[in-house]
Amino acid sequence: MATTSFTKKTLGLENGEPAVTPPTTETQANFLKKPKLAAAPPRKRDIPEGLWTKCKKCGVMMYDKELDDNLKVCPKCQYHFPIAARERIHALVETCSFEESDASMESVDILQFTGASSYTSKLEQYKKSTKLKDAVCTGIGRMGKYRVALGVMDFGFLGGSMGSVVGERLTRLIEAATGKGLPVIIISASGGARMYEGTFSLMQLAKTCGALAYHAKAKLPYLSVLTNPTMAGVMASFAAVGDLILAEPGAMIGFAGPRVIESTTQSELPPGFQTAEFLLEHGLIDAIVPRGEMKARLCSYLEYLMVGREQLAALGG
């Protein structure tokens, strides 16, 4: 296991928007090879490959570039497509301000999971397709005038599932925020806990919530943003305990999967069940915020929740 010295490099985004992160040389090579946003999950394209995308909701055809420029939101119907973690970070933090943490941390097949498919091969497959090492990116960056501890999940990596790495990265992030007096913002996108790591995955629910307990005790704000989808083990842990909980429009949010509920209860699900709008109506979240407005909204909430702490946050504790 070689240790690479810290180097300045890009986040792997278009036009090489600079940011500081300590990657391994191997990932750096990958980024250079394919600078385009590679983390978006594969999707069907009816016409000229790589140029057009058809909106899943309204069916309109749009240029990929148009979709990218609009943060992967359909300009016509506002359908929110999945967005890669790094792309989202890029849209949230001030240029050059994000320092990625624990980028070299990788999952291990601790159970030597044998079954229909091996965990190791799944990990390899998603590392290739997303250019990520696991399903969350964490680090400290600046949003407006605040330094924030930011964790962003990527549904493209094994359904955004939480195993040891996701749990550990988030826990370290939260602990660092507690130590430095920073707010925590976590953007969730996950099908739940990761089966391949068995009960280790389950324990990440308690681990992350435990770290948040002490962050809350230090009277620091935690903003939880729920995106499509945020379900099961992730929803039943850190995602549900924000001081403020926001959701993107149309996001699927819940504990049990809708098909499981249907088959268990033998009843028809109400219209819009488990959507962000349904949760808002039932009093379970604070607000629905479109992706394009998310940064401004988060910054404005921080103005209120960080009253008296501005200096601390600006100096980094």
């Binding site: 790495v165 602990e175 990761r194 990440q204």
Partner: protein, 343 residues
């Protein structure tokens, strides 16, 4: 007819043979006396049972964990504890019969007992949702635990649930939040907490009352992130592959102990907990008292620190770079307990 598991069949057949012999003593073998033959069969039964239970597969153990005759929380409330007095309701919406709680004595020690509760028959199972708790259950548990913390009563949690209830009302009343809040708040309760998985440890629904200083598990219980059937349906595209999933997930008491995810295995009587409740209750009681006494030697803040570290340590991964510039303050090796040194 007594409920039998498929792998218990050889025992059942011998038992039948023994019953027949007792009914018709004139049929016994000519070479030995009636008494000798009875003794021989009884010995064979014991040997067979020992043989079978020495070679249980993970799936066999899950069947034992789900045995309809298996002792449930309220059985232990009466056999391990004394003076159990049930307390009801979350003070918000309802009382959840799938998650019970109350004051009780464990030996001389006054405690709060909480636990998920299955039904013994269909009627009771409808009432208790087969041990799958609603948001109200988790909120009731938290209400009682906070009360226990206020008055210095240790908490004993018994876990036996296939998972939190997947229902429309449960979602509308935010079962995910109810569980998550418990995970966070249980980390801050200063009284000792001992949790024991007595049957099924079904995912978040189990963990929702399972954050503890010591986590015990009965020999034939399991604790998993997903049911073997659910895992089989997703990864094998076939619920019938559940026995394979049960093995792959490594969710038996022995597996979890080897992985460092439980603190202690409580042995069950031969044939499983359902085969001998008095013995089972005695063993569980001894284990709970030993663990509680050890925890009582520490102060509340020491326990909080140890509890945090215990969960903090769960997780396996590799890192080529040890630490990252931005997060050095948060590394567990230097400051894993943010409440202690930070700020």
């Amino acid at each position: 007819m007594k409920y039998q598991l498929d792998f218990e069949r050889p025992i059942l057949e011998l038992q039948r043979k023994l019953d027949d012999l007792k009914k018709h003593p004139e049929d016994h073998s000519l070479s030995v006396s009636f008494e000798e033959e009875v003794a021989a069969i009884e010995k064979k039964i014991e040997e067979t049972r020992r043989q079978i239970f020495a070679h249980l597969s993970p799936w066999d153990r899950i069947k034992i964990a789900r045995h309809p005759k298996r002792p449930f929380t309220l059985d232990y409330a009466e056999s391990v504890f004394t003076d159990f007095s049930e307390l009801h309701g979350d003070r918000l919406f309802a009382d959840d019969p799938a998650l019970v709680g109350g004051l009780a004595k464990l030996g001389e020690q006054k405690v709060l007992l909480i636990g998920t509760q299955k039904g013994r028959d269909t009627k009771e199972n409808i009432k208790r949702n087969f041990g799958s708790a609603m948001p109200e259950g988790y909120r009731k548990a938290l209400r009682l635990m906070k009360m226990a913390d206020k008055f210095g009563l240790p908490i004993i949690s018994l876990i036996d649930t296939p998972g939190a209830y997947p229902g429309i009302g449960a979602e509308e009343r935010h079962v995910a939040e109810a569980i998550a809040v418990n995970l966070r708040e249980m980390m801050l309760l200063e009284v000792p907490i001992v949790a024991t998985v007595i049957g099924e440890g079904g995912s978040g629904g189990a963990l929702g009352i399972g954050v503890a200083d010591r986590v015990l598990i009965l020999e034939n219980a399991y604790y998993s992130v997903i049911s073997p059937e659910g895992c089989a349906a997703i990864l094998w595209k076939d619920r019938a592959a559940a026995p394979k999933a049960a093995a792959a997930l490594r969710i038996t008491a022995k597996d979890l102990s080897e992985l460092g995810l439980v603190d202690e295995i409580v042995p069950e009587p031969l044939g499983g907990a359902h085969n001998n409740l008095p013995d089972m209750a005695q063993m569980l009681k001894a284990a709970l008292i030993t663990n509680l006494e050890a925890l009582k030697k520490h102060t509340g803040s020491e326990r909080l620190k140890m509890r945090y570290q215990k969960y903090r340590a769960y997780g396996r991964f590799v890192e080529t770079q040890k630490k990252t510039a931005g997060l050095e303050n948060g590394d567990s090796s230097t400051n894993g307990f943010p409440g202690a040194g930070a700020i």
